[in-house]
Structures are given as structure tokens and as C-alpha cells.
Symmetry: C2
């Protein structure tokens, strides 16, 4: 099975896990309200996205021989957290985006009040999926702790707060990296760690995987900044350098386009090196690192 | 120690638990952003409120002889969920309230983007507090499951969605009660159940406590609707019947003022009867039921 086949199958598994979780939580038909919320949650979390984080959980589980169904459920939980952050990010008081993957965003389609509740309830669903995992309780508690730390004040939410305050500010490379480590890196790292925690990783395993995640998460962001410039330049009607135009600190502004490309390649290399102790068991993680950093879209 | 002394001490314990949780999560000083989020989270969750839900957790813990520090941490987690819901509820796209307890609401003081993140991060903190509880893992997992179910689509968030859609609609008493059971009842019931789950309750204990919570949660809401009319009528410059004026279904509209008062008294009585098996161990719960339903403010 090549990577593309594996990824397609894995995405189907994640989609089915999320669909089942939502199907099990049917609204109670007390007027239209909770039916709309249920429908809007499905709209917000199903049927789209690359499921990068869930694939990382599955691939990290393979490294330590963890049960694949547990990794899928954990991956689905992380995707709930990711989807909740997108729904809230798109709202007018944040990035005010009307489209995501070519479709109207949740608040455009269902209104802002529902979008707020959709994000809230998707975060909850993420934790609920962890609590329902049929794994030993010690493992479940550790998973909840890891996901909560990655999601809250010292992870994703904190990184977003830094990002909001950073518009129009200059930022050193160290601070830019620390911001991204919180804003996107924390949940990516949690996805990897949580996949591994579905098995019985040694402290050395976890340490190597954390090193891998750190490099992949940062490389992913640098690649994003490169694409923001180079992909847009090929698209008529779009301003090249959207982040730069929005006055957001970014790696291309700091390092130049070629410098940022070289930096991403180096991070990719370091990520691959971190996986050396795992041999062939980490092949899916290697392929994912390649797909995330050397991507063209 | 009388009820008032107990409640004062309990509130101080909850406040200290929340303060310590936030003090342990200091921002990393990456520009102003996460400092502001930290400050706004403190503003949103500390220094106010009756801490009804946390008191219920502590009182329910007393019934089964659960360790009080665990009940306090569980109560603090529930208060994080309650505070998150208030911060989001107050936002312009929901109830658009500028004041809460006489102070500017979070979005008025810190802006809507921060308010959105404050709510998000307070929900996360609630789950993080559970995951950090030094109790056996089986108990912790059960606590996470109970709190998640009460918070999400089939609990608080679902009830809020029903409430949004109910403005201007007529609603039978059954549906109105089912809506409140989700919107406010679910978290009140979770607070009670979670306090008990810090000990080793029997299924009979849990069943009696659930019956108690159902009556108390509903009685609390009926009392709220009564106060909405009777308290406001004494306050010049305020329209008596705020919910009625907002075209929201409510118990006074359905039952009349005296009918609603009688209904609340009956619910209070049923709640007290549900506690009969516990004898004196449930005295704090009895006093809380009295305070919640027979309140005058």
C-alpha cells in the first residue's frame, strides 16, 4: 500500500469515526434549535480537510504498535479541536472569512450565534471522544491532559492571542517560532503524542517523537508562509504576500523567499533524523513529514 | 458552622483553587497577546459569582464522604465551564450584554476576539483541571465524561441553541422544561453528580442525587422566571417581565405568577424528599436547595 492509498483509507476511517460520533448524538427535537446546531456541527467538522492531525495520530500509533481504532478515535478528537478553532477563527470578530475550502463558513451559513455554539460544542465533543475511548483509564487521563494543554491558554488559544496582538508588530524569529509553536505546533505535537500514547511508548520514544513534531510543526508553518507568497503569485487577482500585506510577521519577510525555502528543507531533514531510532515502523510519519513540508498547495 | 459560614468558606476555597490554576499557567511573554488572554481569563472567572455549582459539588461530596479537596477541584472545573458559557453568552452575537454583576463584560473590556478566546480557553481549563485531579484514573475518566455530556450538544450548548430558536415561539411546558434541563439543568446535575463521583457512591445514591438535581435545576429556573417579574417590578426604570418582553417562553407566562411560585415550592419539596435516604449527611444540599429556589435575588 503506497502513501496515497494509506492516507485515503485513513481519512475515510476518521470521517466514519466523526460521522458515528455525531450520529450517536441526535438532537431531541425541542423546536428547531438543537437540530440546527447538530447540522451545523456536521457542516463544520465533516466532509473536508486534509485530516493532517488525525493522520499523524495514526502514523505515530504505528510506530509503537498501538491499536489502530484507538488512534483513529484520538485522531478524530484532535480533528474536533482543529475544526472548532477554524469555526471560531473564521468569525467576524477574528479573521472574518466568508469561505473555507470554497464553501461558506459556518457563521455565514448558520449565523454567528450558532457558529459560536458549534465551536464550543466541537471542543466538548473532542474531550467526550477521549473519555469514551475503550482504553485503560490511565491512558485516557493522560490523553485528556495532553490535548487540554495543547488547546488552551498555553497552547492554541494562547498562540492565537499572541497572533492577534502581533499584527503590525515586528517580531524576532525566536518569538515568531514560539508563537507558531503555540498556535499550530502544540496541536500537531499533541496529535503525534496522543497517537503514541494509545500504545506503550518509552520515554525515549516520546522524546524522539516530540523532537520530530517540533520540526514538522515549524516546517509546516514555514512552508505555509512560502506558499502564501509563491502560490499566490501564480494566481491572478490575488495579492502575493497576503500575510505580509496584512502586516503579520512571517518567515518570508524575515528570511526572504529562498531563505525560507532552505529553512523548511533543513527542518524537514531534522524531522526525518529524529525518526532514525524507529526504522521502518516510522515510514508513514516520514511520508507525512514530506507531504506537510514539501507540499505545493 | 451555619450554612452561611460554610458557604463563605467554600467560596473562598473555590476561588483559591481557580486562582492557583491560573497562577500555574503564566503567559510566556511573547508580546502582549497571551498576557492579555491570561488577564482576561482571570477577569472572566475570578472574583465573582455565587459559585452555586461548585457549592453543589462540595455538598454532594459530603453526602458520600468524598475527599473535599477533590470536590473543590471538580467544582472549580464546573465553574470554568459556567464562566465560559457566560462570557460567550454575553457577546454581541448572543445576548449582547454590556454588564455582568455591575462590571463591564469580557468583550466590552477586552474586545470580542479576546472574549471568544477566553471562553474557549476556560472550557479547556475545565477539562484540564479534571485531568489533573489526583484521583484514581477510572474516577477521572468518568468525571470527564459526565462534564462533557453536560456541556456539549446534548447539554448546555444544545439548550442554548434551542433557546435561540425559541424567541417569539410558543412552547409547551414539557418543551420549556426539556430546554431548561439542557441549558442550565445539565450542568447543575453534573456538578452534583461529579461531587458524588469524587467518592464511591452506590447506584442508588446516584439515582437519588439525580432526582434531587432534576428538581433543584428546574426549581432554580422557575424561581428565576418569578424573580424576573417580581424583582423587576420593584425596580423603577426596568420593564417587569424581561423574558416576556423579549418574547421568550417562560414559566410565569405559562402558569401565572402565583402558579409559578407554587410550582417552585412543589419542586423544592420534591428535591428535599429525594434526599431522605441520606439523613444528616445531605444537610448542606438541603440548605442549598432552599437557597436556590426560595431566593429573593
Amino acid at each position: 500500500m503506497n502513501f496515497s492509498q494509506w492516507a485515503t483509507g485513513a481519512r475515510q476511517t476518521i470521517e466514519a469515526t466523526l460521522e458515528a460520533a455525531l450520529a450517536q448524538r441526535q438532537p431531541r427535537d425541542l423546536g428547531r434549535g438543537d437540530q440546527v446546531l447538530h447540522e451545523a456541527m456536521c457542516y463544520g467538522v465533516l466532509g473536508g480537510g486534509k485530516r493532517i492531525r488525525a493522520l499523524l495520530s495514526l502514523a505515530a500509533g504505528e510506530v509503537v504498535g498501538a491499536p489502530a481504532p484507538w488512534c483513529a478515535q484520538v485522531g478524530a478528537a484532535v480533528e474536533c479541536i482543529h475544526a472548532f478553532s477554524l469555526v471560531h477563527d473564521d468569525m467576524p470578530c477574528m479573521d472574518d472569512d466568508a469561505l473555507r475550502r470554497g464553501q461558506p463558513t459556518v457563521h455565514v451559513k448558520y449565523g454567528q450565534a450558532q457558529a459560536l455554539l458549534v465551536g464550543d460544542a466541537l471542543q466538548t465533543l473532542g474531550f467526550e471522544l477521549l473519555a469514551e475511548l475503550p482504553a485503560p483509564a490511565e491512558q485516557v487521563v493522560r490523553l485528556v491532559r495532553v490535548m487540554a494543554r495543547a488547546t488552551g491558554l498555553q497552547g492554541m488559544a494562547g498562540g492565537q492571542a499572541v497572533d492577534i496582538a502581533a499584527v503590525g508588530q515586528s517580531m524576532s524569529q525566536d518569538r515568531l517560532e514560539a508563537m507558531h509553536a503555540m498556535k499550530t505546533g502544540a496541536l500537531i505535537a499533541a496529535a503525534v503524542e496522543m497517537g503514541a500514547l494509545c500504545g506503550s511508548p518509552s520515554e525515549q520514544d516520546l522524546s524522539a517523537l516530540r523532537h520530530f513534531s517540533e520540526k514538522v510543526g515549524l516546517g509546516f508553518q514555514v512552508a505555509d508562509d512560502v506558499l502564501d507568497v509563491s502560490a499566490d503569485a501564480q494566481t491572478l487577482g490575488k495579492t502575493p504576500g497576503k500575510d505580509a500585506a496584512a502586516n503579520k510577521p512571517n518567515f518570508v519577510a524575515l528570511l526572504g523567499l529562498e531563505g525560507a525555502r532552505g529553512y523548511a528543507r533543513g527542518l524537514h531533514q531534522e524531522a526525518i533524523e529524529a525518526l532514525a531510532p524507529f526504522g521502518g515502523r516510522a515510514d508513514r510519519l516520514r511520508e507525512l513529514a514530506h507531504a506537510l513540508i514539501e507540499r505545493t498547495h
